[in-house]
Assembly symmetry: C2
Homo-oligomer: 353 residues x 2
Amino acid sequence: MPDPDAPLLRALAGVRPDRTPIWFMRQAGRSLPEYRELRVGTRMLDACLTPDLAAEITLQPVRRHGVDAGIFFSDIVVPLRLAGVEVEIVPGRGPVFAAPVRSAADVERITAIDPRSLDTSAIEEAVRIVVAELGDTPLIGFAGAPFTLAAYLVEGGPSKEHLRARAMMHTDPGSWNRLAGWLASVSRVFLQAQISAGASAVQLFDSWAGSLAPHDYRGFVAPHSSAAVRALDVPVIHFGVGTGPFLADMRLDGAASAVGVDWRMPLDEAATVLGTDVTVQGNIDPALLTAPWPVLEGHVREVMRRGRAARAHIVNLGHGVPPETDPDVLSRIVALVHDAGSREAGSPEEVSS
Amino acid sequence: MPDPDAPLLRALAGVRPDRTPIWFMRQAGRSLPEYRELRVGTRMLDACLTPDLAAEITLQPVRRHGVDAGIFFSDIVVPLRLAGVEVEIVPGRGPVFAAPVRSAADVERITAIDPRSLDTSAIEEAVRIVVAELGDTPLIGFAGAPFTLAAYLVEGGPSKEHLRARAMMHTDPGSWNRLAGWLASVSRVFLQAQISAGASAVQLFDSWAGSLAPHDYRGFVAPHSSAAVRALDVPVIHFGVGTGPFLADMRLDGAASAVGVDWRMPLDEAATVLGTDVTVQGNIDPALLTAPWPVLEGHVREVMRRGRAARAHIVNLGHGVPPETDPDVLSRIVALVHDAGSREAGSPEEVSS
């Protein structure tokens, strides 16, 4: 059973814990040799849907780095696969759909699938294994936000500026809202499965939200993201890349307990925009993971210093761990944050420095 | 000879012309059937370096759409090719370098090439043909900004978050500044060749600048971009994508007469950030080019309305023309802007509405 006083959960509740919590987006994955070994011969989505394998991959980085949370190893398109949508993760490319969802008829067809019909048993089984193994350490469940899922689904695969999904909002707002609403339900079912099996928190990933004008984010996206996560039984972290221009909206009217910030905006600025009733998460620049240690150490300390402006701070990268990252560097960052964070908690005069 | 009172040049000089000028980034290129026909069997960089062909491709969209400027058909890596750097444009992928420039020794080697040694005669010949054909209509020359060039060169090809170029800034600032300074000189030589052959203005493209934290943009990038364009003989337009968080810095301390704004930030907000001594360019959302005409028309009118907040406004897209764009839609936008712009100029009471 996860400790209700675990640093991650205290930070999400708005209390500065004794030890500053840290985890890494994509900590489970290609940066770890033990992961690459385990994945040989298994396709990505098959790995996600094999409970033993997904559980082991989730646990690997927790054992290795001593991070303050596991993040469930899965993919944002997994619930779509469970809904019967034909999708593969193509190595080096990303999710590719057999049939893009572009016309009103396409939207009609896909949204006819009842999200409550998804068989999430493999997900729940994997989560139960992870939670049992993690002991005190909490597990973060996750799902894709409706816009980021739509960015793939409407295009049929990865794209740079997500023109087709953004076009649908204006060309056929009725279809857009139907599709995004359905995707919100699908992601919500995926989150609920993880929560019911023991996840202590969840993160909603809206990786491509930064391609949107703030006006479009507010009108066409935020309401659907809210629907995916509001009134869940656990705290919600909401993360996007390039969301500086509408960061306050990422709070989803209070549905998010924490907002993830990418490497572009210093956390003290983010805290000013976000206000005092939300926790910040982030935002070590992934580009600095290859820098000499003194440079990286200085950067991590600076991130922590600026994070003190928020009510609480969960240290993370500003985006996912790049595949070529040296895992020892990640372990060293965890040790630094835990050490610096505890000394800070013990000497209050430093807090205001 | 281009008309010194051409609407584009008046707008760049800060005077609202009678007709609102419009052109499109990537107007010369894949959206035009006559371009696709002409390019059959010729590789991209070969087309750029064949004067007759580059000239004809530059002229095609001016003839077809009646835009207020030609934009020289070339590629930001052309001056690198002229410097002897081995690079190809791979269709569907982008510029790919035979040898990425990553180490201090790599930087030493490439920056030993004297930018003044570039043979730009093919560029000058193409520009001369274009300028003679264009008559009154001005030609915009262009070049890549040092950061965007480095983003390709350090990585060796396209990348999502340009980690390696951004890492070099912090890992080895000496090498970074040497490389970016050299790239600025190379782009400047490319611009000067176009200007000496008759280009009436130039645009510096920093397409990937939006991946930078504002602090890094200011410290490691803006000085080099300034060096590429300051004190040229013609006005400079400076464009980047996702540059909202440091838009004022895109003025390059006055070196830019106009700043291009992507589709994310409304032009009246941009004008507030930029001040009254710079012209704005933009910012029709490329995603709306596929919308039904009334939706697109409303959007274009809204862009023009907001653009009135600036001292002058050059209408453009917020990024390049997507390849699948229907060219008739572009022609229709030009007619709308010219019509709306003249009526506006003729009825001053509408200007403040």
